[in-house]
């Protein structure tokens, strides 16, 4: 008893109606948008000022002044640059709810500009390998370059940003072609440059899908590798006893949670203020809410695995690391992180009514984002505050744990400025590239059919190979 269903009209009309509607919505810029952009620009400029003041006052040789700077870099790397994964992964398993969210997620690849920019001073802050720090490159004088972590770090940050940008470009090619064909003015000019002769032939469509698949896999590999390099060279070696094989994976998988949270908040803004409430509905929030719950559980599992080994083993170096990062000067910050990143998401998102609402997951996502910022601050500020002359290989007494470092004005300006910069570049990007993936919405109207099934009406979703 095979059923062959005819392609009936989707919720939004025919595919052409969908295209015109979305392109029109995209080109309208509201007042709220303009005001926010101005405020964010001011904050970004203040952030640059804070950075200039920091670098002229303290220079790059004093690690403990750069803890907050490194923390906000890691924060953007974890949250904004983890967002494209929300486009990549559901695409692989062909989940249809992703169609409204994928472009919003991919646009966060633009924050790669910010991370690359912010990373440059860190290259100068990180000491060379000759101070005897444990490193992944097994430094030997004369045999291994003493600045190899700096080179590899820079290369991987740049490569990851480029992979994300390339993915964004490939995925928006068809949409930029629609803009080129249906719009006028400066948008049409830029779209013509980027759309580069897109005609919509079968070969071009095949190449887009093929390239998105490969770039998606490459972006994931770059994400894992970049997090690994940042952690293994720019974080863990500062703390002599911190030999934690799991932490690169923890840091990378935090990016999945951060990415989902970022996209959730973005979707809420799109729905409430962007006028896309008919595209962003329960399905999207439910799917992403499940992912947020799953990644929160992953966070607790990985964090507990690391903690358990150190706590049970009781080696002096491990006790030092636990004291520095968790139970000592940063105890309250750690408790806040634990509550925001695990307790709140877990005890709310296990309830279906919360997951199935349009406000639930984004609200929880806000908690997760704040918690992730606190988490990065806890890790990076603590690690960067360890005195540079600490004995790197011997057992360290607990009384050498440095006191908590509080942010000063420059740190606050930099943190706010960098986050504002990332959001600003995203907002500016949405003016050129539509924030809803138009061609995927057209695809949905082809693959989605509503029909009667026994006594109810169901959705039939095509799953092409």
């Amino acid at each position: 008893m095979t059923h062959i269903s005819q392609n009936s009209a989707s919720d939004h009309g025919t595919s052409n109606d969908v295209t015109l509607d979305l392109v029109n919505r995209h080109s309208h810029t509201g007042n709220l948008f303009r005001i926010s952009a101005v405020i964010l620009s001011i904050l970004f400029v203040l952030g640059i000022a804070g950075f200039v003041l920091r670098i002229t006052t303290d220079g790059t040789s004093n690690n403990d002044k750069w803890g907050y700077y490194a923390a906000v870099f890691a924060f953007i790397l974890t949250t904004a640059q983890g967002a494209p994964m929300v486009a990549i992964a559901p695409r692989i398993v062909k989940a249809h709810w992703r169609r409204s969210t994928s472009r919003a997620a991919e646009l966060w690849a633009l924050s790669g500009f910010i991370t690359t920019l912010v990373f440059v001073p860190l290259i100068f802050v990180l000491p060379g390998l000759e101070d005897g720090r444990r490193s992944f490159w097994f430094y030997h004088e004369g045999e291994v370059a003493r600045y190899i972590p700096h080179y590899v770090g820079a290369l991987s940050v740049v490569a990851m940003a480029l992979a994300g940008l390339f993915l964004l470009w490939v995925s928006s090619l068809p949409d930029l072609a629609y803009i080129r064909d249906h719009q006028t003015g400066w948008r049409q000019k830029w779209a013509k440059v980027f759309a580069r002769g897109w005609q919509g032939t079968s070969w071009q469509w095949f190449m887009v899908n093929h390239r998105m698949g490969i770039l998606g896999a490459f972006y994931f590999m770059m994400l894992v590798f970049t997090h690994f390099v940042i952690v293994a060279d720019f974080l863990m070696p500062f703390v002599p006893g911190w030999i934690d094989a799991l932490f690169p994976a923890t840091h990378a998988f935090n990016a999945l949670q951060g990415g989902v949270a970022t996209v959730l908040v973005t979707l809420f803004v799109m729905r409430k203020f962007g006028g896309y409430s008919d595209f962003i509905q329960f399905d999207q929030m439910w799917g992403l809410g499940k992912l947020l719950l799953a990644t929160s559980l992953l966070w607790i599992w990985f964090s507990f695995s690391s903690f358990m080994i150190f706590w049970f083993g009781k080696k002096p170096n491990e006790l030092y690391t636990l004291d520095l990062l968790m139970t000592g000067p940063y105890l309250w910050l750690f408790i806040a992180v634990f509550i925001l990143v695990f307790i709140v998401p877990f005890f709310t998102l296990i309830w279906n009514p919360v997951r199935r609402s349009t406000w639930g997951p984004p609200l929880i996502a806000c908690f997760v984002l704040v918690g992730t910022l606190f988490d990065r601050i806890r890790l990076y500020v603590a690690a960067y505050s360890v005195p540079a002359d600490a004995d790197m290989h011997g057992p360290i007494p607990l009384d050498l744990v440095p006191a908590a470092v509080y942010p000063d004005v420059f740190d606050i300006l930099i943190t706010i400025g960098v986050i504002a910069g990332a959001v600003l570049i995203y907002m500016l990007g949405t003016r050129l590239i539509p924030v809803i993936n138009i061609w995927e919405q057209r695809e949905l109207s082809i693959y989605q059919v509503h029909k009667r099934f026994h006594r109810t009406e169901v959705q039939v979703l095509g799953k092409p190979e």
Binding site: P316, N317, P395
Partner: protein, 250 residues
Amino acid sequence: MANEKWGMVIDLDKCTGCQACVVACQSENNVPINDEPLYNQRRASAWIHIERYWEGEFPDVKARFIPVLCQHCDDAPCEPVCPVFATYHNSSGLNVQVYNRCIGTRFCANNCPYQVRFFNFWEPSWPETLKNQLNPDVTVRSRGIMEKCTFCIQRIHKAGRNAKSEGREIRDGNDLDIRALDPACVNSCPTNTLMFYDMNDPESEIAKLAHDELEHDGRGYHLLEDYGTHPSITYLKKVDKDAELHHDSH
């Protein structure tokens, strides 16, 4: 009763590797007889054993002896992992093994960094004539049970009972009482390498020796310090007048 905390000092400068301590321990604690098949199976039990390391090339070869026994660590890694509480830390600072509670998972043996725990793989047997030699104060263990040095806890308890019946503290006894308290290995050592003492005794000479050698750049050290086990045994380094001066020796 005053709270004792038992410890040992082992002066490696005096150890000749004669193995008298090994024999004394075996006979005091009913340790199973290690015959040749058992050695070949790598299952020999020696609660205290002399580890011998060779140093240098012929003709400048030196033998280094170190008696290794249960260190009775304050943070013993073997204690948390026993599923049935067959090993625990008592109030006198001893790591105690409860034979009739052990079910033989051998987790504690894996966790011990000093490798001083022994397992009864076979049912121990003594020839008929030697059965009279067994110490009635010490349990004879059957197969499937872990065992290790107890600092001759049976002697400590006996001394404690004697002291209580005489209405005094253990440490206030006369010399003979003190000697009866010492573990068998300490008693048998001809060169006074092994010294047994109460760390909480303010008048103990051995405690002063341990303290001095540990503090003022002396010869004192603990085995495997990096593990954070806080052993109760302090070793005193061998004095080797021919050795070169090393600035980072440890």
